[in-house]
Symmetry: C2
Subunit: 201 residues, 2 copies
DNA sequence: CGATAAAGTGAGCAAATGCTCATGTTCTAC
DNA sequence: GTAGAACATGAGCATTTGCTCACTTTATCG
């Protein structure tokens, strides 16, 4: 292990970007197993040695991809949430979900690979930070619109809602059914979440 | 490729079973990448050559595991459904979901590996047949309890419901949250599905 | 310039993997 | 018993993978 170095010159920062782009492409076309460091390096027009100067490990490349992707989605999400607070609840939920779907769609290649190719190890979630952020939003939402719920009950419903929201948005974004409008699906999901959370039981 | 043969003697049928058991174990402990044919063979107390007599390919082992697992879940599910038709709708949904969760839990090791380790290729679903069966059940349910829905609208809701049901049951079965009763989660999910499907919009 | 550090190269190694095949063993049927 | 089929073995091959390292090139700065 030569140890990962940080790129300081512009030249090397560009190279890191080229490597990450190539990795995304290879991941999308050949899958995780087919994404060898040699292949990524070749595809990026870079030598393996250079790759290993900035990434100590094959999985570090993917970790970096995930980090950047998460940051992007989070940015979209927090912006949507800050705008949503002033809207009627149904519209708020709808806006957040729409934003999430769009954000996931813009990272389709990577997300697809992450969802069904990359080993996640122990944790079963592709976007833990996104889920946390969503949960935070939902918690506020529940506190103001269903204050009668006991904390334990609220937790259970939020847990469920997070699973539904994330899995549904992922499905709509990455594997949309033919002949059904995405917007309508988001609409239905928003209803489902609102009704299930606030009413129900 | 020597071509896969079918075991005809009892001896070889036992061996196939031993291989599949070993594969499940290895898959659970080392993951898909760590599941080499050599390791599976050793773990099963069998030679690699024998393994390749009955499985033409590493992935054929997994395909067989999936087939057997699916058959098992399907058996549970169809039985639960046939009993559920005579129940009030809420109880029916609850029973089916409970059965599904239990069935997935009994196959925890394999399911976990399938969900976040095994490359699924194009299709993003772990249990396509189960989803089809569930959709069939739901379609009947919708036809009798919400006949006012247009076909297209019904399709959209069934599509959503399948995603919610499967992903939620998988989550409850494989990654249950601490401190929340599984039964209560199933309860909430049943409400969610019932309300979202029949009312909503 | 000249010196030092950063950036970049690519042949190639050690280990692992999927899989074969020549050989040996056990079962079945006549 | 014995012929022939089914069954079982495991050394080992071809390929791939992740990764190193001795080396060259380029930038930075006094």
């Amino acid at each position: 292990m030569t140890g990962r170095r940080r790129p300081v010159q512009a030249r090397s920062r560009e190279m890191v970007d080229r490597i990450l782009e190539a990795a995304t492409r290879v991941l999308a076309t050949r899958g995780y197993a087919g994404m060898s460091t040699n292949r990524v390096a070749t595809e990026a027009g870079v030598s393996v040695g250079s790759l290993y100067r900035y990434f100590g490990d094959k999985d570090e490349i993917i970790a970096e991809l995930r980090t950047r992707c998460t940051a992007d989605v989070m940015a979209d999400l927090t912006e949507a949430m800050s705008r949503a607070v002033s809207l009627p609840t149904r519209d708020a939920v709808h806006r957040v979900l729409t934003t999430l779907v769009g954000s996931l769609q813009r990272h389709r290649a990577l997300m697809t690979a992450l969802v069904d190719e990359v080993p996640l190890g122990a944790q079963g979630n592709v976007l833990p930070e996104v889920e946390r952020q969503l949960a935070h939003f939902t918690r506020m939402f529940v506190a103001t619109h269903a204050p009668h719920l006991e904390p334990a009950e609220a937790d259970a419903r939020i847990y469920l809602a997070m699973g539904v929201a994330l899995s549904t948005c992922l499905r709509i974004a990455l594997d949309p059914p033919p002949g059904i409008s995405e917007d309508h699906l988001v609409d239905l999901t928003a209803d489902l979440l609102g009704l299930g959370l606030v009413l129900g039981g």
